[in-house]
Subunit: 413 residues, 2 copies
């Protein structure tokens, strides 16, 4: 079975990504080392959080009904019978017209159902004047108000972030089952491509930056990525290179030229590897059109355009979702970082969704995006741009001042 | 000299961060390993990029004036005298009424000043019919159009991202001078705090999540962070702990309780360490108010509130800018990820800037932020929230549908 050769990005997501076989292998890691992994088994809270009725302020634990009608002019007088320190279980209960001093985080004693903030009290030896009534539960975090025992706190398919880590540790979850990270191998192809630090090169030879750039980027995102090496524009050489490292990786990426002849031999080399082979050849995006998507023996093989800007856009919007899908992430598609306003009109390219590189500026509390000169052949674009905006293929363009979704390329924006 | 005890976030940035002494130590790294470091010496392009006049398309290199008046009905006929492959230097020039086949990325021969896309031509053996005129420079990237020799391509104080990496490798920059990363030591304090995986604990003891959460988070951002350990609510114990590890780190972070007595002994312990000691005690933000900012022998010591939500907000908006400043990053303040629209009204807390945790949703191409229940004592907040919006202290609130800046907490949004 073969799909259409030229596809929209939506088709890639719905038809290609859906076909990918996620990695089944899991490992068990210490929760403290689990950041960035995708959870492989639902985690259920084994206890309530906070696990006791907790004071949210420094003040006096009281029976709320004892404070009815209290005001600055007519304060209610309560007897302070003991003090509860943080980390201590109160040994006694409070009775009618009694109060206990509680620090922020301390446990409420039996009998108390609210806390009066110290700011609304006046202490006189063993008595306290309460100048404001409190309602039941006021200034208290109930025993199961944060998390309820039995509640799902981390679901299979969620990528673990520092917020999860905090919650899991509060719950005493020591180890987690996670999916192993995807292994990516990157090959740069092109007769003109040379190693970046070669001493002698002719004017027309081009230093390889795509493989190193992508490997560094993917590693900074936590993926396992390695550079396989360079390969000439030769079907045989590419086929042999792919075959030799095929078993080591979950995904093979070929950075390739986008000129007509070159595209064909990339497709041919991939198709020689196995079935079903190339499924999509060309995506209706600009830049990034000459992207090749294949599956060989259940493994994705991805050809990205050789131009560094197209390469990067295609890696962001096609390759990274593939890796997230492989790692079993439920929510594998990228999301906008937010919206921005355009500093000027952007015209569309009919028939292709456009990813326009933009520079952001903050002006009067609004975030503006300045579209960069659209020449995708300029590598400097990747230094100037904070991210991209999308111009759909079915509009004539976007207008100055228009609000549009922004997708950051690197963190920092 | 001591600053005001309670400060706005702006004061913290302008008065405290300005006083910090950035790390002077540099190291030399391979460019391929430089991601995430801050550049310590300007990098100047040693060559033009692309370094030759480069065809942006597959087509015919021509003298543009030979194509004047060409149309589908009246094509111009040119003789194809040779072909230039990618990575090859053309050995000859083209003359009047001649053309050379060039692939995308190939060098233009002498004499040619434009390229006609193959789509606008018809080939007949050694002749080609050009059906559309081209202007000088059309479909060509000039030799220095991407980068000019002598141009600044990476400035001291910029943090290196994958886009820089691509450009530096294209230019053959093999090694870079960078500032070493900041080393952060994290201490959790509190009589109620216990190790997270302790087997036996009473209901009121709280597992330490702040130190592990922060260390994991900072490491995922590339900083060098370690957990120092737990410490009781005791001035002496905290003082001894701080002193024992003081020389190992560039920044010491104390996660502490926020109740009245506890705050005082943290300040006292820090002040015993050295001069000038605590400069700010309390920041006018909610959550995050009980943040302590000190400098001891030129080294920042930061007390963050013990509540995990307040701790995280304060780490994001106070601690991380400090670390970026220490690492010599020019642009050390956080930036909004973009703007969002509010799904409902948010009221402000008079006198304190509020960081309201929000969940994002994309609806009809617009990014909406749903403010989460504001209880900062709920750790689960950190799992639900994608980031925060800021409500300034001098407004009454923000309205449903209002456009406001969004700050992501973790990547993924």
């Amino acid at each position: 079975m073969k799909f259409l050769k030229l596809a929209s990005l939506d088709q890639v997501y719905s038809e290609y990504l859906r076909r990918l076989q996620p990695i089944g292998e899991t490992l068990e890691v210490s929760t403290t080392e689990s950041l960035g992994f995708v959870c492989a088994r639902n985690v259920i809270a084994s206890q309530d959080l906070p696990g006791f009725n907790k004071s949210l302020v420094d003040g006096y634990a009281v029976r709320s009904k004892d404070t009815t009608g209290a005001s600055a002019n007519f304060p209610v007088m309560l007897r302070v019978v003991f003090e509860v320190k943080v980390g201590e279980e109160p040994s006694k209960a409070i009775n009618e017209n009694e109060a206990a001093w509680v620090a922020t985080g301390a446990m409420l004693p039996e009998g108390a159902d609210a806390v009066v903030m110290v700011e609304h009290t006046q202490r006189f030896n063993e008595y306290v004047e309460v100048m404001k009534p409190v309602a039941i539960g006021e200034n208290v975090l109930r025993t199961d108000e944060d998390v309820r025992k039995g509640q799902l706190v981390l679901a299979e398919g969620e990528r673990i972030h520092p917020g999860h880590l905090q919650l899991l540790l509060q719950l005493g979850v020591e180890r987690l089952k996670v999916f192993r990270r995807a292994r990516v191998g990157v090959i740069s192809t092109g007769d003109e491509i040379v190693e970046p630090f070669v001493k002698e090169k002719s004017a027309v030879q081009v230093r390889d930056s795509n493989s190193y750039g992508l490997v560094g980027w993917l590693k900074s995102l936590g993926f396992e990525a390695s550079r396989v090496g360079l390969c000439k524009d030769s079907e045989d050489e590419l086929f042999r290179t792919l075959r030799s490292c095929f078993d080591e990786y979950d995904v093979l990426v070929v950075s390739g030229g986008s000129s007509i002849g070159v595209r064909d031999f990339t497709e041919a080399a991939i198709n020689r590897l196995g079935k079903p082979g190339v499924l999509f050849h060309g995506i209706l995006i600009q830049p990034g059109k000459p992207t090749v998507l294949a599956i060989v023996n259940d493994k994705p093989v991805v050809g990205l355009p050789g131009n560094p800007v197209s390469f990067t856009i295609s890696a962001k919007f096609v390759l990274i979702p593939i890796l997230r899908k492989l790692e079993n992430e439920k929510d594998f598609l990228f999301k906008p970082s937010g919206m921005v306003k355009l500093t000027r009109n952007v015209s569309s390219r009919q028939g292709r969704e456009q990813f326009v590189r933009v520079k952001l500026l903050v002006r009067n509390g609004q975030v503006w995006a300045e579209p960069l000169e659209s020449e995708t052949a300029r590598v400097f674009n990747l230094v100037e741009a904070h991210g991209v905006i999308r111009v759909p293929s079915d509009v004539e363009g976007l207008c100055e001042g228009e609000l549009t979704e922004f997708y950051s390329l690197w963190s920092g924006w």
